[in-house]
Amino acid sequence: MNSKLYWKQKLPVMLLNCFCMIGLAVFLRVTANSFDSIFLILLIWIVILAVHLVISYHNRKVQMEKLLDLAEQLEERYLLSEVMGKPERADDRVYCQLLRMAGKSMLEQVNEVRRERTEYKEYVEQWVHEIKMPITAMKLLCENNRSQVTKELLTQLEKVNRYTEQALYYARSEHTEKDYSVREIRLFDVVHQSIAENKYLLLQNGVGIDLQETDDTVYSDEKWLCFILNQMIVNSVKYRTERPVLQFYIERQGNQVILCVEDNGIGIDAGDLQRIFEKGFTGQNGRKVLQNSTGIGLYLCRRLCNKLGIGICADSKGSGTTLRLIFHINDFIERV
């Protein structure tokens, strides 16, 4: 509580008292009282007034500080009006009532927005599932009628599928706990799977694949991991050079298993390297090479990695980029 302002606002009361004191003094003097008695009466008045003012200031200050403390401790501060109890002063009660009304209307608004958001999210998920039916049908139609045209169509379908998956994972990335199952997976099985999902993209761009296959296993969610790898593969193809080659290999460091995805593409500028996982960051490559860089892919990767407890980092030295997924091998899980 601002004490200066408080006292400033008490000024009218004090002035009123002063006027009254002067009036009383004049009256007493006219009715022939002695200076001493007038002085004594005024002194007592002043003391009582001062004590009253100081005590009420003190009480008010303590009360206000208590409320501020309470607000500080509350996690959801909009609930303050419910917690602080009924104030005694009449005007305070009005404020309290106002606060409650404001809080209530805000909660209503928030709930409304929240409900709309979940509804929208559910709609997006539903939509993704529905759009997959025609995609499947188209894919089968193409596979059954092989020609140069259908191959091109399949490449485009891969793209369509990737974008819809991205939408789905974006909608879901908030609460992954709903939709992931951690189990032992062989890392290279997932690598094979994501290569298969991007087969036409890789073949059409003449990307060579170099696998140093091992049987390392980790505990993670296969579906999400596959999605992350897909994003990496797409990026490597996007920022490729002549004769692109993609390498997949595993490094072991202590209790870490690191899956490395290395390409020989144009690489990432040292200045950009720190920021590539930020949302909407496209960097020099995104601006120079392609106009359709969205800066969503790697952002989603990092977000999913965080949820899954996987480390992700990028490394680039002039040309070529190595993306690393770092899995921690937990002895505890292995024993279970």
Binding site: H129, E130, K132, M133, I135, T136, A137, K139, L140, L141, E143, N144, R146, K151, L157, N161, D179, Y180, S181, H192, Q193, I195, A196, E197, K199, L202, L203, G206, G208, I209, D210, L211, K223
Partner: protein, 222 residues
């Protein structure tokens, strides 16, 4: 013997295309058209394997699965567009053997079907392919001609398998590369030429010449 596969799926285009795909890969496929699924129809067809969609009009795939399980032990592959883990768990609990999400990679689907069929109905005779007197042994990964044998690498075996399967038809290089990729052998165009040459060398060593013919600008033919 042709394996019979039952397709339980409500989307008409996917139904027919799936049947064409399976028929093209040497299976006999039958479609269930009426929903809810008539169990008598399933029983009379006696499928070796069932492709089951989860979202079906009338009753869902899970109940169909448990109904089928009451009289048949045929492998069931769940095919669905909703890929939640709850569904996956349910499908496994109810006796499903595999779970594939749409849009599926046809190569992966076919591979899964083949491996499940192989496990459920072990082939009695060894898998052997032959063409013009040249015999390809898949299990031992060798090729034989007039009593002389030679070993093949994984790449060579797969290339020959594809060519044998399509004997008499021109196989384009792109199709061959794609087939190899489907089998997790990531061979590029140059490596394919190298492999083909190596196969020709091996074939001439056992006395077969001009077995794989090159069609200029088109591909290879047996």
């Amino acid at each position: 013997m042709k394996h019979r596969i039952l397709i339980v799926e409500d989307d008409v285009v996917i139904q027919t295309q799936l049947r064409n795909l399976l028929a093209g890969n040497g299976y006999e496929a039958e479609i269930i058209n009426d929903f809810p699924v008539d169990m008598e129809q399933v029983r009379s067809f006696q499928p070796h394997l069932i492709l089951l969609d989860i979202k079906l009009p009338g009753s869902d795939g899970f109940s169909v699965c448990s109904q089928i399980r009451a009289f048949s032990n045929a492998p069931i592959i769940f095919v669905t567009s909703c890929s939640t883990d709850m569904d996956e768990l349910n499908s496994i609990m109810l006796g499903g053997d595999a779970f594939i999400t749409k849009p599926y990679n046809t190569a992966i689907l076919l591979a899964k079907i083949a491996s499940l069929l192989k496990r459920a109905y072990p082939a009695t005779e060894q898998e052997v392919l032959s063409c013009n007197g040249v015999v390809l042994h898949l299990e031992s990964s060798t090729i034989e001609y007039a009593g002389r044998q030679t070993d093949l690498t994984k790449n060579e075996l797969k290339i020959l398998y594809y060519l044998f399967k399509h004997a008499g038809i021109i196989c384009t290089r792109a199709d061959l590369v794609e087939y190899l990729w489907d089998n997790q052998l990531y061979v590029d165009d140059n490596a394919l030429s190298v492999n083909i040459n190596r196969i020709r060398d091996k074939l001439s060593a056992i006395g077969v010449t001009d077995f794989i013919k090159t069609k200029h600008r088109q591909g290879y033919i047996l």
